[in-house]
């Protein structure tokens, strides 16, 4: 603080609090809705204070899903989302760190060519090649499998660049010392590079977990069986178009369950999250 201006500081506080309230309001309304009965949710105006059905509603969706909407139990969908988020995060980190290691620590024919091929993936998000990618996955028999959900998404130029950038900052002396001591490339990777990369891996993991959990378009294309839905697309199937009756209390309970894991990851690992976000955009 440079000078004392209580009025201006107060103004800033008010503005910040107002926007925090505005952002939290939909979350609060969804939470309140998830604690009432379906009957109460069609009376207007809808309740603004929590009701007593919290446990009932959450147990119902986790075990049985939402009646009427042909969806699997939300517990099952949460499991699918978890598998997807973890496989994408771990898979991306694993294949990126290996290829970055090869690109930084070896000089081999075609290296530049490979590097550019990886770079190109940055320019080809799923959204621009929806149909042909779907066809490849269908031809490989990967529809409605965890492999189909995750493998096409784990190639990542961003993660490879991040690791490459970081490896270039590791002092060359470490590698020379390792070689004098007779370490092979893999041993050097395992005993020196990997431990040094721990913070980068943690930061990347947080970002990629959120990325994987929140995928929408790809699971929508690849899954047709209800028990392979992820929770993010499952919830959309619970809201039929038009004025068909919707159990809003159960839909909102599902929404709370769908957003809780990534939100908790951000809150509990905020430091890694911020680092990951800033690093991956460099």
């Amino acid at each position: 603080m440079i000078e004392h201006r209580p009025g201006f500081t107060l103004f800033c506080h008010v503005l910040l609090i107002a926007s925090i309230v505005a952002m939290a309001f939909p979350l609060y309304i969804a939470f309140v809705a998830s604690t009432h009965t379906a009957e109460r949710m069609v009376e207007i105006p809808i309740p603004l204070l929590p009701g007593g059905e919290l446990l009932d509603n959450y147990t119902t969706v986790l075990k049985h899903g939402v009646a009427g909407a042909s969806t699997a139990p939300v517990g099952r969908m949460m499991f699918n989302s978890l598998v997807m988020a973890l496989s994408i995060a771990i898979g991306k980190i694993a294949i990126s760190i290996l290829s970055a290691f090869a690109i930084v620590y070896f000089r081999f024919p075609l290296k530049t060519f490979f590097f550019w091929m990886i770079f190109i993936t940055l320019m080809l998000p799923v959204e621009v090649r929806i149909l042909p990618t779907y066809k490849v996955v269908a031809d490989l028999g990967l529809l409605d499998t965890y492999g189909g959900l995750t493998i096409p998404l784990i190639a990542s130029a961003t993660a490879t660049f991040l690791f490459r950038q970081f490896f270039l900052t590791i002092p060359d002396e470490l590698m020379e010392a390792a070689r004098i001591d007779g370490a092979s490339a893999l041993r050097f990777f395992w005993d020196v590079v990997l431990p040094l990369s721990k913070t980068n891996i943690a930061a990347l993991f947080v970002i990629l977990f959120i990325y994987g959990w929140n995928q929408y378009l790809w699971p929508l294309l690849v899954t047709t069986q209800e028990d392979m839905y992820t929770v993010v697309i499952g919830i959309k199937r619970m809201i039929p178009g038009g004025d068909a009756s919707v159990d809003w209390n159960l839909v909102m309970a599902t929404a709370m369950l769908a957003l809780a894991p990534p939100a908790l990851v951000v809150l509990l690992m905020q430091r890694w999250f911020v680092k990951g976000l800033v690093d991956t955009e460099k």
Partner: protein, 293 residues
């Protein structure tokens, strides 16, 4: 840039890049090449006869009023999202940088929506604005304003923009805050001694110093609005009412999977690819410049 010394080359480096390359070729480059090739073909309804037609698919697209309309929708949508997401985030970051007490708590409470999936954000906001039971629609009716985004295209656009902002404001906020915190305090103090108030200091010192960050965020926000908002559109409005929220990406999906128009959908994919490539090039040229500074 390379390491001074390197490991002897054998089969190992190839094995290390193999998984990444295999996935890249099978799921990225091959499908993209397919899209390029199919965009030059016309297939009959049964998929039996295929004819090579050069650029007819593209000509048909640009003569198609519906496609041009989705271009306009996308442009309007991305300009709205980028403008509001950047300006609101900048004001919030400036406030958070100014206050001493509670800055950390404010940061936490502002960034959590980043973790919410776009589709879930759309579900939350659609529930708030639900014409029958939504609390905000109810409040608006109370002050004499009829809200029904299922019928009114302007309101539908407002709904998807708000849902998109929900995730993008926290993102921009973090980058602006980091930018503001990296401005040397001595600069600010010197200006304060010369009698500049907080607003004037922000406009003449912080704002110009933030311009690289702002430009970078502008590109990121445009990419986000173009490509990452499919879930929002699908969950909130399904592109309606009467295509008022059908963006380019949503249209590729509809034409390809619902309309089964292979050539047309592939041609749209190729146009989208061209857009991503140009945005990526802009972003990287700019980043190179930043490195030289």
């Amino acid at each position: 840039m390379e390491k001074r010394t390197q490991f002897p080359v054998g089969w190992l480096p190839y094995a290390l890049v193999a998984p990444q390359l295999a996935i890249t070729i099978v799921f990225f480059i091959w499908p993209a090449a397919q899209a390029l090739w199919q965009s030059l073909l016309v297939q009959d309804a049964f998929g039996i006869n295929t004819e090579f037609v050069w650029f007819e698919n593209f000509q048909a697209l640009f003569a198609d009023e519906l496609y041009l309309e989705s271009f306009r929708v996308t442009a309007l949508f991305s300009v709205l999202v980028a403008t509001f997401a950047l300006s609101i985030a900048l004001v919030l970051a400036a406030c958070c940088d100014h206050v001493l007490r509670g800055a950390r708590a404010y940061q936490t409470l502002i960034i959590w929506p980043y973790a919410v999936a776009p589709a879930i954000a759309a579900v939350l906001w659609t529930f708030m604005f639900n014409p029958t039971i939504g609390i905000l629609a109810y409040g608006l009716k109370g002050i004499g304003y009829d809200w029904n985004h299922l019928l009114n295209s302007g309101q539908a656009m407002t709904l998807v923009v708000i849902s998109a902002l929900f995730k993008q404001i926290p993102y921009n906020f973090l980058f602006f805050l980091a930018g503001l915190q990296s401005i040397p305090k001595s600069l600010i103090e010197a200006a304060a001694i010369d009698g500049a108030g907080p607003v004037k200091r922000f406009l003449t010192i912080a704002f110009p110093l933030l311009s690289p960050t702002s430009f970078f965020l502008l590109v990121v926000n445009l990419v986000y609005a173009f490509f990452d908002t499919f879930g929002i559109i699908d969950a909130a409005t399904q592109g309606g009412p009467s295509r008022a929220t059908t963006t380019l990406v949503y249209k590729v999906f509809r034409d390809g999977f619902v309309g089964l128009d292979l050539g047309g959908s592939a041609a749209q994919s190729v146009i989208l690819m061209a857009i991503v490539i140009s945005l990526t090039v802009v972003q990287f040229r700019y980043i190179e410049r930043k490195v030289q500074y």
